[in-house]
């Protein structure tokens, strides 16, 4: 029984009461006014009044019922609209928080990976740092060794020069001894001449002179040999000196390069230290990021459950609105929907709304959001069709409305 029917019943009842009153009035007033007016006139007046009253009450009842029901209808329309919006918003919030939660978990795992990679990198950097500091030490040692070698080479050069000088002196001495040998040779020859002049007496002396001359010749030959050896030595010393000079030059270049290398190694070492510090800082930042992501994931979870709650509340509100609309007599259009199956086109985040009636629309949206919660989050971005039985979700029995 709708409100309109109820109001009509009330106005009909009041009209009947008025008619009853009129009849009663007629009966009582008829006896009282018998002496004053003519009975027929009174009868007519009473009948007219009663009929007029009854008509008036009927009309008033009808007007009141119409005005009340139209106000309620407007309210219901507004309620339906806002319920629809709340439902849509809650489902959007639910999906957004769900994707947020998912994103957070992906981010958390990515951060974990990054963190482990960073740990590896950090250990490698530490190792490299150790190696580079070792390299610095080794470079210093090498440089010192090179300096020492350079000094030794210079000493060698000086020594070679001294040997050369000694060789020259020896050559001078050899020349002197060669001259002496020549003089002895001349003396021996002179002695031979003298011996020959002495004739027989000088024969023995001639032999001595010959021996002396032989000695002089041997001495001269030895001097010549020594001279050639010294010449060879001097040539070799000169070659050695030029070799040493070349080596010194190369050594000088090597020293310069070594200096550069040492500097580079030191720079690398300091850069490595800075890098290690940077990695440490990144590690700390990643740790903080991890915490924040965890928090965000938890928050998203909470938001999702709140959105769920909101969705449920919206559903309840919608059922209440449906009840009200049933009561106010707007069930005519909906009644056909209740038992049938609904086809809802659903895409996450934006539901397509079908149907003209506000209440029906609201129910469909509700169905859509529920269907979405059940299955849509698994496969985002793909439109899909879900078949739902609305009477399983919303109680549409008449009993509920009767209790109103």
């Amino acid at each position: 029984m709708t409100i309109n029917q109820k109001l009509l019943l009330i106005s009909g009842t009041s009209a009947a009461l008025i008619l009853f009153g009129g009849a009663m009035g007629y009966l009582s007033a008829g006896e009282y006014l018998n002496g004053i007016m003519n009975k027929g006139t009174i009868m007519v007046m009473l009948a007219m009044g009663t009929v007029f009253g009854a008509a008036l009450s009927m009309g008033t009842g009808f007007i009141i019922s119409r005005s009340i029901s139209s106000a309620i209808r407007e309210t219901i329309d507004g309620l339906t609209d806002s319920t629809v919006q709340v439902t849509a918003a809650s489902s959007q919030v639910a999906s957004a928080s769900q994707s947020l939660a998912e994103g957070s978990s992906v981010a958390a795992s990515a951060i974990e990976e990054t963190s482990s990679s960073l740990d590896e990198m950090s250990s490698m950097t530490r190792k490299t740092l150790e190696n580079s500091s070792l390299m610095t030490k080794t470079g210093d040692i090498t440089f010192t060794a090179m300096k020492n070698s350079h000094k030794s080479l210079r000493d060698t050069d000086a020594c070679m020069k001294r040997i050369g000088e000694s060789g020259a002196q020896a050559a001078k001495i050899i020349k002197t001894s060669d001259e002496i040998a020549f003089q002895i040779n001349l003396l021996a020859l002179n002695a031979a001449v003298e011996a020959a002049r002495a004739g027989e007496a000088g024969a023995g002396f001639a032999v001595v002179a010959e021996e002396v001359r032989n000695l002089a010749m041997r001495s001269a030959e030895a001097a010549r040999n020594t001279e050639s050896i010294i010449g060879e030595m001097s040539r070799e010393i000169k070659e050695g000196m030029s070799l040493v000079a070349r080596t010194l030059e190369e050594f000088y270049k090597m020293g310069e390069e070594g200096k550069k290398t040492n500097m580079l190694i030191k720079e690398i070492d300091s850069a490595m230290q800075e890098q290690a510090q940077g990695i440490e800082q990144i590690n700390r930042a990643i740790g903080e990021m991890d915490k924040i992501t965890q928090k965000a994931a938890a928050n998203a979870e909470e938001t999702a459950s709140a959105a769920e709650e909101l969705s449920a509340q919206a559903a309840q509100m919608e059922s209440l609105v449906a009840d009200i609309s049933t009561i106010t007599g707007m069930t005519g259009n909906n009644s056909g929907l209740a038992p049938s199956y609904l086809t809802v086109v659903d895409s996450p985040g934006c539901q397509s709304i079908a149907g003209n009636h506000p209440a029906g629309r609201g129910i469909r949206n509700r169905l859509a959001s529920l269907a979405g919660n059940e299955s849509a989050y698994g496969e985002s971005g793909r439109a899909r069709t879900t078949i739902v039985r609305p009477d399983k979700i919303i109680p549409l029995e008449e009993d509920n409305a009767k209790s109103f």
Binding site: Q183, L186, L189, N190, V193, A196, R197, A209
Partner: protein, 171 residues
């Protein structure tokens, strides 16, 4: 006739015997020469030579040998050989040349002195005949020693009489 022949042979043997003896050998332009040792007074090293003007080219000048002034002749130049720079080995052999009037001491510049050799008569051969026009009078003979030949000089005949006279006057 036979007597004469025997006489010439005897003379030759005598000549050959005379040539046998000790020789002082020296080097001149790579060749070995010998001078009879009794002609040699002494051998000295190179010393300062004082040039004397108006003398032939081969006379290099005079030296002061222990207070005696002795003329010095370059044997290379005398034998028309190329002149050479004097070295440490260059020696002056002081010889006694028998001049027309007296014995003249004279220095001979040679490349180097070798040794005193005893040469047997059998090793000495006559100077080969190179033709009439060539003067080979100053060569005593050719001495065969080892694989080579040494030219033995008659130093008295190296310079002719005119030159000797001039030298006598100079000395």
């Amino acid at each position: 006739m036979t007597d004469e022949a025997i006489k010439t042979i005897d003379e030759k043997i005598k000549h050959s015997r005379e040539r046998e003896g000790k020789y002082l050998t020296f080097v001149l332009a790579g060749e070995e020469y010998g001078i009879g040792i009794l002609k040699v007074r002494e051998i000295i090293g190179m010393m300062t030579i004082t040039t004397v003007p108006q003398t032939p080219l081969y006379v290099k000048g005079v030296i002061n040998l222990r207070g005696k002034v002795i003329p010095v002749m370059d044997l290379r130049l005398k034998f028309s050989m190329a002149a050479m720079e004097y070295t440490e080995r260059t020696c002056i052999i002081v010889v006694e040349i028998t001049g027309p009037m007296r014995k003249i001491p004279m220095g001979i510049l040679v490349d180097s002195v070798s040794e005193v050799l005893n040469i047997k008569a059998t090793d000495i051969e006559e100077t080969p005949n190179f033709g009439n026009k060539l003067e080979t009078e100053y060569i005593l003979g050719m001495a065969k020693t080892g694989g080579g030949v040494k030219i033995l000089l008659d130093i008295d005949k190296v310079l002719n009489n005119e030159e000797l006279t001039a030298l006598e006057r100079a000395a």
